[in-house]
Symmetry: C2
Subunit: 196 residues, 2 copies
């Protein structure tokens, strides 16, 4: 046998990340404590630092998992739908549903706790580009004649508007809306943005 070290290393990294994701899912960003995660994963604190430089690196890893899950949810949402407006509506509903069902993961992703000078990891940038791609597709069909640069900005605007609606909906500070009313407002937003 000659791969035990690699196997051990990978398993440790995987189990630590698993414990971190579960911790965030259950208790939010505050629950991502090195000691607790090390214990849950079955290792000592030192082992965690062998695979993740610091706490922020672990948060980033959890965020990567979250982004992948959102991407999967988006892909599933548009699957089998051809009408562009219907695609946008499905994407909006899927985004809201993910945020509601994985509230802690979603909030941690947008918690912005990263150190000021820390650059966004390439994998995150790529995932975000992919996410925007889901929106850019139907938007290109709806608003033809738009140059690519404007389309990119418009795509970002649409995502941002939807993101804001979801973010405010998850806050307790604002008056809560019925699920029906929220869905109606979200559809209104999508239709207006789509120019319909």
């Amino acid at each position: 046998m000659a791969g035990i070290q690699k196997a051990k290393s990978e398993e440790t990294q995987r189990r630590v990340l698993e414990a971190a994701v579960k911790a965030v899912e259950k208790g939010g960003l505050e629950a991502l404590q090195i000691r607790k995660i090390a214990a849950d994963a079955g290792y000592s604190v030192g082992s965690v630092y062998k695979h993740y430089e610091d706490q922020d690196a672990l948060v980033t890893a959890v965020d990567t998992v979250t982004l992948a899950r959102i991407k999967a949810a988006m892909a599933q949402a548009v699957d089998g739908i051809s009408d562009p407006l219907a695609q946008l509506k499905a994407l909006a509903r899927a985004y809201l549903a993910f945020a509601q069902q994985h509230r802690n993961l979603w909030q941690t992703l947008f918690a912005l706790k990263m150190a000021e000078g820390a650059p966004t990891p390439d994998i995150h940038v790529q995932e975000l580009v992919d996410l925007l791609g889901f929106i850019a597709g139907p938007l290109r069909q709806l608003e033809d004649g738009l140059d690519e640069e404007t389309l990119a900005a418009r795509t970002r605007t649409c995502f941002a508007a939807l993101h804001g609606l979801v973010a405010i909906s998850l806050e307790d500070r604002f008056v809560g809306l019925t699920e029906d009313v929220l869905d109606r407002e979200m559809m209104f937003l999508v239709e207006r943005l789509a120019g319909r």
Copy 2:
């Protein structure tokens, strides 16, 4: 003399809050450290706890200041403007400008670090209602025939969409837009939401 205690108490509370606001302005939420604030204000740590129950209470107090400043900026933005669409555009520009110029205060306000079960302070709720009022006014003129309940939901939707645009704009993760393009996108959003 018979009011020294009250004066001292008020001055301490005021100076601690001042130090807290300045700390957040300079270094964000992470900079709101009790020891540092106590030292900056010229008191001991114990005195801080005489006026603010814990760190969260201080954050809440800072957020209250932030909300008041946003409210003032909004009021100034619509001052002298009668056209409803122009009012909405001015409000949007003012909201973005505030977030850009007081980035740390704004991000702290929406950091959502509050304890799960902690209720939103009444003063915050009132300020948020006032903020939404700025939007509800012109919206009522633009979309007449809307019942009050729908108008309230619509107002929240418009604010949320704008809020999302501003939030995404302040993130480094997303591709940055030129100030020109960003303003164009924001105006596009407002016009579409206003039904124009």
